[in-house]
């Protein structure tokens, strides 16, 4: 097999060992490449899968993409338990280790800057959903309540749509205030685009999709804060994910 070198993350050297059973993409164990006081976490991937052409085709294949994304995230996740990794975007691939060393030399100042900024921090994801209404999926109206006229029908439609709009507004107001509250308890925060329910398989409509950068030492407090909000608003669901590596905060500060 002709191999390419896949880079998952860049970190500072760390003392704790990685899990012994840890595997990356394609089942290959990740290795550490030390250079200029930084560490690139790499594994070998088949060129047949990661050449330009192959990759382009693979990225259109949701099964391949999700397996690869999960393997990538698995390595980042393991790193997060022993250090603060700087996660690279999916499919950062080099021909050999010398290419990686050259890349480190070119970017080392950036890497150090961001690693310093993120050291000891994790990312928490918080999403707010407007719960689906059971009534909406049930039959439109029982026979007894059949609209007497077209106008009656329209009036009811207007009322029901009005009620839905109101729920949206309530959910958005809740999401907005929650986001502001969480931002005050985080060092930094980002808003992501709402998630498509077909991909997330989460019921309801995603109203808020936020990411929050929190020092490890204050994570417990942050998690409790989110937990407390879970019962605050009826018909609204709050979901917490994490701790993630600080994916959403590797770029420029806003």
């Amino acid at each position: 097999m002709i191999g390419l070198r896949y880079v998952y993350a860049v970190c500072r050297p760390f003392d704790l060992p990685l899990q012994s059973q840890l595997v990356g993409i394609g089942g290959a164990p990740p290795a550490l490449l030390h250079h200029h006081g930084l560490v690139a976490v790499v594994s070998t991937v088949p060129e047949a899968d990661f050449s330009e052409e192959a990759l382009k085709a693979h990225l259109e294949d949701l099964d391949w993409l999700s397996a690869t994304a999960r393997a990538h995230q698995g390595v980042i996740d393991a790193l997060t338990t022993v250090t603060t990794p700087l996660p690279l975007r999916l499919a950062t691939v080099f021909r050999d280790d010398s290419g990686i060393r050259t890349m480190i030399e070119a970017r080392e100042d950036d890497f150090r800057g961001v690693l310093d900024r993120l050291a000891g921090r994790v990312e928490w994801g918080v999403k707010v959903f407007l719960e689906p209404e059971p009534a909406e999926s049930a039959a439109p109206a029982p026979a007894a309540a059949k609209p007497a006229s077209g106008r009656d029908y329209l009036r009811r439609r207007r009322e029901s749509s009005h009620a839905h709009e109101e729920k949206w507004q309530r959910a958005e107001a809740f999401a907005q205030s929650l986001h502001e509250r969480l931002c005050r308890h985080a060092e930094d925060c980002r808003l992501h685009a709402p998630q498509n329910s077909a991909l997330s398989a989460a019921p309801g409509q995603n109203v808020l999709n936020g990411a929050y950068l929190v020092p490890r030492g204050r994570s417990e407090e942050f998690v409790e804060l989110v937990d407390r909000t879970k019962d605050e608003a009826p018909g609204i669901r709050v979901e917490l994910t994490g701790p993630w590596a600080a994916y959403s905060f590797t770029g420029e500060e806003r």
């Binding site: 840890l22 994304a69 338990t81 499919a91 106008r151 709009e165 709402p194 997330s200 994910t241 994490g242």
Partner: protein, 115 residues
């Protein structure tokens, strides 16, 4: 997904809380961008991310459908679009109701319909 917890606190294993959308939006859309030896067009990745968000056959199709909220601030423009639709809906409903009223008042039938 790991649930190792050498660094507390780890109250939520990502295997339980995170869904595929959570993972994809991070590994595809976030993280440090480095030009490796294998060039993948970042625009391709961007389009891919959009496609995954929408689960539509193609981005062009999405644009045809008028779904373009990702091009600006999602927090603002999705609401803007929704408001716009709601307004348009209300307007259409009102017009329908007005037309119906006309229809229901016999005195206002147009001469054309008289025998």
């Amino acid at each position: 997904m790991t649930t190792a917890s050498r660094f507390p606190p780890e109250p939520y294993g990502q295997g339980s809380g995170a869904n595929l959308a959570d993972i994809l939006e991070r590994v595809l859309d976030k993280g440090v961008v480095i030009a490796g030896d294998i060039r993948i067009n970042l625009l391709d990745i961007e389009l891919l991310t959009i496609k995954l968000r929408l689960i539509v056959a193609s981005v062009d199709k999405a644009k045809e459908m008028g779904i373009d909220w990702w091009e600006t601030d999602p927090a603002l423009s999705s609401r803007a679009r929704r408001d716009e639709l709601a307004r348009e809906n209300a307007e259409l409903r009102e017009r329908l109701a007005r037309l119906e009223e006309l229809e229901l008042e016999p005195g206002r039938r147009t001469p054309k319909e008289a025998p």
